[in-house]
């Protein structure tokens, strides 16, 4: 869907990290965790392209203005890294943005009963919150392993805990949780009968994918790529599939075939 959306709030959670809520059509409530949106941050031609963001949350709220019943919303959690996200961080309540959503293939929640393990690095926590909500709603046991460079990168842990998710935190500099990589913490807790869902920097996802393969744990990863269209038309966002070689190339479209992939579908160098 393409729709205009009103910014409801846009709050700085920790330095350079923002959580933005926008109004959405009711249909968006049927989106799957792991799906994403493409946002046009300005009507001007610079920056020209839309920016992709994972759905952090969707839901309904009762609007404060008169004559309005319940209104569907979607939220994103984003980090200011450049031109587009800088402009985004300056938006206020009442500003209007243009959205394409929901896009891509989301997480497959898997059979009930297994333990669900979420692994997030930095802003990679964004789609995992929506996922955690969906899993908890099914009555599943969910654990979260969150990693970041320092304490400012660890976001919304209280929100996860409020859902009843058991959380483990690791930071590179030890300012929050254990010191070191979150993958080291994860390794100690891995065993068969779990299912992993991971989102974060590609090297982290690679490490998680290897670990999952070693322990024979099913694992889905949410990937990032530079995108132009978000709908599978430009072929700009591809990455190498597991069987890719120079002679028999195998490219997967992140926006259309993903962003969520089974970890064995991709090539990890």
């Amino acid at each position: 869907m393409q729709f205009k959306s009103m910014v409801v709030s846009n709050v700085e959670l920790s330095p350079n990290y923002f959580r933005m809520r926008m109004t959405a059509p009711q249909e968006l409530l049927a989106s799957a965790p792991g799906q994403f949106l493409m946002l046009k941050v300005t009507d001007a031609i610079d920056p020209l392209l839309r920016r992709p963001f994972g759905l952090f949350d969707v839901g309904t709220f009762t609007a404060e203005y008169a004559g309005c019943g319940t209104q569907a919303y979607c939220e994103i959690l984003y980090k200011v890294v450049g031109k587009g996200t800088k402009l985004l961080s300056a938006l206020h309540h009442g500003d209007v943005v243009d959205l394409l959503a929901p896009l891509g293939r989301g997480f497959d929640l898997g059979p009930a009963g297994e333990e669900k393990v979420l692994v997030g690095g930095g802003v990679g926590l964004a789609p995992l919150y929506y996922l955690a909500k969906a899993l908890v709603a099914r009555g599943e046991k969910v654990r979260l392993f969150a990693g970041g460079r320092n304490r400012d990168d660890i976001l919304c842990i209280t929100e996860f805990e409020r859902l009843g998710v058991e959380t483990y935190v690791a930071t590179d500099d030890g300012t929050l949780g254990e010191s070191g990589f979150v993958t080291q913490v994860l390794e100690r807790h891995l065993n068969k009968g779990m299912r992993i869902f991971a989102c974060g920097p590609t090297p982290m996802l690679g490490a998680v994918a290897k670990m999952a393969a070693l322990h024979e744990v099913p694992c889905q990863v949410s990937m990032e790529a530079y995108m132009a269209c978000g709908v599978g038309a430009c072929l700009g966002c591809v990455m190498k599939g597991a069987n890719h070689t120079e002679d028999t190339p195998d490219y997967r479209c992140v926006c259309k075939d993903g962003p969520v992939f089974d970890s064995f579908e991709l090539q990890w160098s």
């Binding site: 869907m1 393409q2 046009k40 031609i45 610079d46 920056p47 020209l48 392209l49 839309r50 243009d98 394409l100 790529a225 530079y226 995108m227 132009a228 269209c229 978000g230 709908v231 599978g232 038309a233 430009c234 072929l235 700009g236 966002c237 591809v238 990455m239 190339p249 195998d250 490219y251 259309k256």
Partner: protein, 305 residues
């Protein structure tokens, strides 16, 4: 006043309005069906097709630049047979002309791809790409040398009974020379322009951003160049022209028509706004209504100097 007449015809291909979707920016059509009414645009042009499926270039393949973007997709496509089997049946059911964009790695391949399309219902015409900057063979070699271009055009012409549009590259010193060469060799129409070769550098890594090092620049940044080329060619060649390059709205499109284009193609704009082609057609019509102009074709080449 009655609604203005928006219809045009390019080399015998009748269109309800002058807005086509540019090759490589509209997938195979179905990708956009949720965002616009495919029966409200003038024509659809497929992704560039080759004889065999093509994997394309390594990543990163795209990067944004001020007012534009660079792409080095490398003509990834499903190949002509898979297109005919898997994509064309859907397109046949859409009441909008489909034009197949094609290219070859060799001269013979150009001829072969054209031959496979001939006689197929559901294909209104072909657009021969002699201008892709992102592949080693094919594309650019044929697009920058008038003699080579003529060979391609003559061969394709021999292998097709369909209207043949030839898509020109801006990466030449004299676009008029190339246009004349293609016209003499039998092109029924010309579309211009393809992307301009460009480059982006990552200063932190001191490396090119694109894996292919260079890429094709598209978007609003190239519009002035495209407009100039359409205007130059329109003065020198009698064939119908299709203007392409940075068209974002109805006014941009009409500027190309004043410069001499019979129709336009919308490329990068579809990435920012998947309904762009339909919106642009509507905006053109509104301009005509506002200015009490009865038919859009009266604007073709109507630039006053």
């Amino acid at each position: 006043m009655q609604r203005p007449d928006m219809s045009v015809a390019v080399a015998g291909i009748k269109m309800r309005n002058p807005v086509m979707t540019a090759s490589g920016t509209f997938g195979y059509g179905a990708e956009f069906a949720d965002y616009l009414d495919l029966e409200c645009i003038g024509a659809m042009i497929s992704k560039g097709l080759s004889l065999k499926p093509k994997a394309g270039n390594p990543t990163p393949r795209i990067v944004e630049t001020p007012g534009g973007m660079l792409n080095a997709i490398g003509l990834q496509n499903v190949g002509i047979d898979a297109f005919i089997e898997q994509k064309l049946p859907y397109l046949k059911n859409v009441n909008t002309p489909v034009i197949v964009n094609l290219y070859g790695n060799t001269l013979e391949e150009y001829g072969e791809v054209a031959a496979r399309l001939d006689g197929l219902s559901g294909v209104a015409g072909i657009e021969v790409n002699i201008s892709c900057p992102n592949v080693k063979q094919g594309g650019i070699v044929f697009g920058t040398d008038p003699g080579a271009a003529q060979e391609v055009v003559r061969l394709v012409k021999k292998n097709t009974t369909k209207p043949m549009i030839v898509k020109l590259s801006p990466n030449v010193t004299d676009v008029v020379l190339m246009a004349k060469a293609c016209a003499d060799a039998g092109a029924d129409a010309l579309s211009l322009i393809n992307t301009l070769t460009g480059m982006a550098i990552d200063l932190e890594r001191r490396r090119p951003v694109l894996a292919n090092v260079t890429g094709g620049l598209s978007g609003p940044a190239i519009k002035p160049v495209a407009l100039r080329m359409v205007w130059q060619v329109a003065k020198a060649v009698k064939l119908p022209l299709i203007g392409i390059g940075g068209i974002m709205n109805g006014r941009d499109a009409l500027e190309f028509m004043l410069a001499g284009a019979t129709a336009v193609q919308v490329g990068t704009a579809s990435f920012l706004d998947p309904s762009a082609a339909q919106r642009i057609a509507r905006e053109m019509e509104q301009y005509l209504v506002d200015h009490k102009i009865e038919s859009v074709s009266s604007l073709i080449g109507a630039l006053e100097l």
